[in-house]
Symmetry: C2
Subunit: 155 residues, 2 copies
């Protein structure tokens, strides 16, 4: 056993990760619905988080959406006063995107509610596992996709 510390058979990472992800999303949905947000709308609020400016195309890329598919989402969020969408004076093709104060408030409220649920879940893990889990997850999530797929990527 000495050199074989973790040779226990385990399921594939994806086989665990994907259903878990689905379940976590399902857990988010009621919270989002309470605030009248769809998943993509929430993703937009999160994507606008720190970035002060943005162009719609860049935002779409960031949150893994299609450029043409978030337009309706942005329309809705703008109408509800959660985001600003002003023409960029320096590039009149682009629209500057930012959260309104209300948008920030909604994002914080929703994210707090969601993460509170998540913390309740994480609390059931042993302390050491939880820390490693969160650190590893953040590390992996921050990796460029090409490093995970092993592809050479779009050279």
């Amino acid at each position: 056993m000495a050199g074989n510390t973790e040779s226990e058979r385990r399921p594939d990472l994806a086989a665990m990760m994907v259903p878990l992800g689905r379940a976590l999303v399902a857990a988010e949905l009621p919270v989002l619905r309470e605030h009248g947000l769809a998943m993509w709308a929430y993703a937009v609020l999160l994507g606008l988080d720190d970035e002060p400016v943005h162009t719609q195309a860049a935002l779409a890329r960031d949150i893994g959406a299609d450029k043409t598919r978030i337009i309706g989402v942005l329309d809705d969020l703008e109408e509800r006063g959660l985001i600003h969408r002003q023409p960029d004076p320096r590039d009149r093709r682009a629209r500057l995107l930012s959260l309104t104060a209300e948008g920030r408030r909604v994002r914080d409220t929703v994210q707090s509610a969601i993460q509170e649920r998540e913390e309740r879940l994480l609390a059931r893990l042993p302390e050491e596992d939880r820390r490693g889990f969160l650190r590893a997850l953040q590390t992996l999530a921050a990796m460029p996709r090409a490093e995970i797929t092993g592809e050479p990527g779009p050279s």
Copy 2:
């Protein structure tokens, strides 16, 4: 700040887990295609893993698929000699499902290739994080879905 060891802002679990899951699936696809397997077919091979017997409906439930949607997959796998599908003598409505020797071989080959890639990825994590990550992931993945969503479940 003493009692606040991990208060660093972190993304939502789902926001990390879902894209990561997608990337891991994308990493699996070339391997699967090499062996002529679609994702659902691989899921079936994995689902038949240890269970000696099965009914198609139970298998579908296990791998999170629709009862009516894996029929074609099973047809194909049977035709290729990777699974057995015999009528159950004790319940002539049902079909007993099992892996053939060849099916087991393919499953092992593919899974080894997949997990080898995964190990290369995991190797980039610090040892302690990796252990906690894998343990926590297995714990969470083994939880019934209702415990994650927080729903009372289908009582």
